[in-house]
Amino acid sequence: MPKEVNEEFIKNLAKQGAKKPIYKPQKQMLLWTMVMIFYASLIFIFLGFRADLSQKIQDIFFDLEIFLILATSVSAAFAASFLTLPDINQKPVIKKIPFIFLFLLCAVIVLQYFMQGSSAVDDICGGSNYQCALAIVIFAIIPSLIFFVILYRAATLNSALAGFMIGLCGGSFSYFLLRLVHSTEDVTHLFMWHFIPVFFVTIISTIIAKLVVKRI
């Protein structure tokens, strides 16, 4: 192609100018954290903490579970904010960290199952159990929505993974909130009506991101 054509092409682009930069990932995270603190406070004010929270805090499995789910949520939020940039903010390792916490959380739940025992699957099906799953989905909307807005304005090169991380971040934060609000001891219930819905939210979020996020 002649040199003049390239010259003119560059001039055309330069005439439009570079776009103003979006918030840096650290700033996005700060914003998300502040909104989440406010959001969690609102939920605790309206729904209250679970009655046995002071006892549960002394249970090492419960503490581990809470720590790991919060770590999953925060690390997924970090990954989501980095994935909004084409170069993942030049830290690709960030997208692997949530999986480590998620794996550890699975291990804690399985360990809890063997140490404390649980009901049979049939016993926890039906009834009002579905409300927990519904709560996970509903609580996850706001944490996920913030990143969806950021993702839509940014330019990700991996919309499916970004959507996955957004869903994981929202779903696990929702799990964290529900664990502090709703009293349940049954590990099978926890797995079926709390843990699996997190993945449901993640899958839905992945599909939405794949369909909605524009390509550069």
Binding site: G17, A18, P86
Partner: protein, 170 residues
């Protein structure tokens, strides 16, 4: 680039001018296949860089950001190339049979080329028609339409994007 993001158009122009040769060098490595049009790929990537210029984090070096976009565009291009390659791998007997059929059915609906082009604005439709159906060169089209070659190229790119978006989904 930080200053360009702040609105300095002259600096932005010089940044783009520096990026272009880097992209040529990067894509040239993959030009062993004639299916990869380096010129087009460079321009597509430049457009993508321009569209994503707000996502560059000025705390980080710029080259990984540029090459992340370039790599993505290359993968996109290769995907199209392999898809096309797949399309032409048809049984020769089937082609022969189709050629000697007496009444081959007329294409209808969106398969009709004219209808496909109808979704484009008049100017873009004309450009695509002259370039891809008549087979004119960029220079010839530019002369005919009294436009610059770069403007023809940009309009053609926009038209291709619209066509891809519309018909790839189906």
């Amino acid at each position: 680039m930080r200053l360009a993001q702040a609105g300095d158009k002259l600096l932005y122009e010089s940044v783009l001018r520096e990026i272009m040769p880097m992209l040529y060098n990067f894509f040239r490595k993959f030009s062993y296949s004639k299916a990869v049009d380096v010129e087009e790929l460079v321009q597509e990537t430049m457009l993508a860089i321009h569209q994503a210029s707000h996502t560059y984090n000025s705390d980080r070096p710029i080259k990984p950001w540029i090459f992340a976009i370039a790599g993505y565009k290359l993968k996109d291009c290769l995907r199209v190339v392999y898809r096309k390659k797949k399309l032409i791998e048809v049984d020769f007997v089937d082609v022969e049979n189709a050629l000697f059929e007496e009444d081959s059915p007329q294409l209808e609906g969106p398969e009709s080329l004219d209808q496909m082009l109808e979704i484009l604005p008049k100017n873009q439709r004309e450009i695509v028609y002259l370039l891809k159906i008549k087979g004119n060169s960029l220079q010839e089209v530019a002369n005919q339409l009294n436009m610059s070659v770069a403007a023809v190229k940009v309009a053609a790119h926009r038209a291709y994007k619209v066509l891809i978006k519309k018909y790839r989904i189906k």
